[in-house]
Assembly symmetry: C2
Homo-oligomer: 414 residues x 2
């Protein structure tokens, strides 16, 4: 019998009507002949309310007690969904992290799952009882409740799916799948039927936030097939799977953008060995994440160095750069937060040359100036002025043949 | 070092300001040199909200899942109070029923505590950390969460006090102690300094609902000294203790009343052996609780039987009486819900005769007709017409010397 994990986020269980709707979806999956385990988030709004109580008492609260408070949100949903399922005649039982157990480390508020014992869940499923599991939480070896950090319910679902060797992990959310790009920018964006873990990771890391990066990493590590679909629309979603399952490997399967970066240029840095080591070593010490890097050779023994940092880290970066001004002997620091990073991603790139060249041509035809370039095995990213973001995304979406036949009906993506 | 259990009800932790106030009370107790364990209820309103969610989904919900949902209310309070205490520099840690564990049977929604392991709590207290324990909940031997039924947090507190051999269990509530009678009826009611378990049980069972009967029974069984006091007034409350601690044993320590009963009279019942067995046997089968019973001998081979039942059971009682009409051959059934039961309670009664006589005289002087009388070792109860309730209570309160010097200031009792 196929084993399916179904995961429902906060908006899917926001009120009793939606919980009843989720119960019907679960019953339908069972009636189709599958063994089902369910992972749920807190009803939307609940977690924020509980977090606010802790913060109002003390912004520097103990994270272990924060976890004890916040984990109750998911517990409430598990009990309510179990009641809703039982009311449809479907045996169900709630499971908290400590009851399974989902063992985690003790990094309260952002714990990592160490180990999940699937035996009790499998026994329940074998006797026809659907486990309703609290997402976002675990328990330490010495019995304290932990939470896995924001978005942790996806991670819970994938980890549970790995532990019970599920055939698929269905992540129900308020979008109906993964798109070739943001439909708000490109109305002709198409829903992808399948995408590889690697592509999903590259897309997530540049701003397509359907799935949390950590849960995709875990799915890839354990070979858990994920489906992203809507709990409000009765149709298949998008599958995230291993490359071996993807027959037609697209050269470019998606176009992503991010406006979370800022560009930093050091003018006239002394061009001698060790300069880059000092510069990026100091930035790393200051916990500033550096992404794209480019260096232009100068003629007079100096060079210009350009790189991007997270926009929120810009102030931190300026302080760090001041610390090494003497050592590097640069002339001035220029910063520009008004930049957008545009990326094309596709596993077909590995066997196709010329993707970067096609990309640059498409952008130059629209007179979009490329400020920085970076490439990986399955991704090419460029930094452009922020005002060109939409134009660049649309140009690349067309150029790589991703446009659908016509725009989807308004609201269909919700 | 003295060990104190402090228990705070829902109104004492109703919002963050009150939780901060409770933290200050706990810190003060610790600063006085005591080892402290704290038991808390859910923030007032929370439990009702959670119960409503379960009922709205399905009025016939699974009680095990009801418990999983409802137990989260206390869990939130434990975490928040731990944070509030830590913010005052007082080490504290939340404890749920399953973490201690508080083992209960599996009668979900109204479970009974089987056993509490006090070792982890004692170890925490020994290292200077105050345990903040979720009241109202336990866990079954196979790891499912239970709740102990309404008012169960008092029971939790007394059971915890017994398990850790506490010197006293302080029950903080919204009244400042136990009174000789209801101050709303008798403004000159006095707060009792000490009262015995037995007296408290008799008073609770006739409507003075400061402490739940089950928690007083457990305190008596394990010799746990209880103090009832207000979390809003900084003064000592009333002690509930064993008789051996009470030097001056009052003949009457309190006057209680109840308007929860209805009177039933069977006219002209055949006066032969076995009649009472049939009558009260049938009522017991119908789960109708019978309290006071009186039988008047008739002259013609018949008799009138009068008894009281819970007012809510009256309809049920009528059906049961119809079932045995033929067997008993009674002429008619008269019922009267407009009655009040007035009781005087005191352990001094054991060694003092004449309490009933003084009581009847005081009532007759006010022309109050006594309908039924029942007595126990430390209690005399009479049934009177409901309209005489206040007059009777005031007459008895005066007659047994319970009146205070003058009425307390308005609102002092809150």
């Amino acid at each position: 019998m196929p084993k399916i994990v179904m995961k429902f986020g906060g908006t899917s269980v926001a009120d009793l009507d939606r919980i009843r709707n989720v119960a019907r979806l679960v019953k339908k999956q069972r009636d189709a002949g599958d063994e089902v385990a369910v992972v749920v988030s807190a009803m939307s709004g609940t977690t924020n309310h509980l977090v606010k109580l802790c913060n109002d008492l003390n912004p520097l609260h103990d994270t272990a007690e924060y976890d004890a408070v916040v984990a109750t949100g998911e517990q409430v949903t598990t009990g309510l969904l179990a009641i809703a399922l039982q009311s449809l005649g479907t045996p169900a039982r709630s499971w908290q992290g400590w009851q399974i157990p989902i063992l985690s480390d003790d990094a309260h508020g952002k714990a990592r799952v160490d180990q999940i014992d699937g035996q009790k869940l499998l026994a329940a499923m074998a006797r026809g009882e659907t486990p309703i599991i609290a997402g976002f939480q675990g328990v330490t070896a010495d019995g304290r409740v932990t939470t896995l950090g924001r978005g942790g319910s996806d991670l819970s679902a994938v980890a549970i799916a790995a532990a019970i060797k599920a055939d698929r992990c269905d992540i129900y959310t308020d979008v109906d799948g993964i798109y070739t790009t943001d439909p708000r920018v490109v109305p002709r964006a198409r829903k992808l039927e399948k995408i590889s873990f690697e592509e999903m990771l590259e897309l997530a890391s540049v701003g397509a936030k359907v799935l949390q990066t950590r849960s995709v990493e875990m799915a890839m590590k354990h070979g858990v097939r994920i489906q992203v679909l809507s709990s409000f629309a009765d149709k298949p979603g998008s599958l995230v799977v291993g490359e071996d399952e993807i027959v037609e490997k697209l050269v470019v399967s998606g176009v992503a953008y991010s406006v979370d970066d800022a560009k930093v240029t050091l003018r006239r840095v002394a061009d001698r060995p060790g300069v880059a080591a000092i510069l990026f070593g100091r930035l790393a010490e200051a916990h500033v994440n550096v992404d794209m890097i480019v260096q232009n050779l100068g003629a007079d023994g100096t060079t210009d160095m350009t790189f991007t940092v997270g926009r929120g880290d810009l102030a931190q970066a300026r302080v760090a750069l001041e610390d090494v001004r003497e050592a590097l002997g640069y002339q001035e620091v220029l910063t520009d937060p008004a930049v957008a990073k545009i990326s094309v991603v596709g596993i077909g790139m590995r066997s196709h040359a010329g993707v970067a060249a096609r990309m640059f041509k498409a952008l130059s035809e629209r007179n979009i100036n490329i400020q920085v370039i970076s490439t990986s095995e399955i991704k090419v990213s460029v930094l452009v002025a922020a005002e060109y973001k939409e134009l660049a995304v649309r140009a690349l979406h067309s150029c790589f043949g991703l446009d659908g036949d016509e725009p989807p009906a308004v609201g269909e993506g919700q």
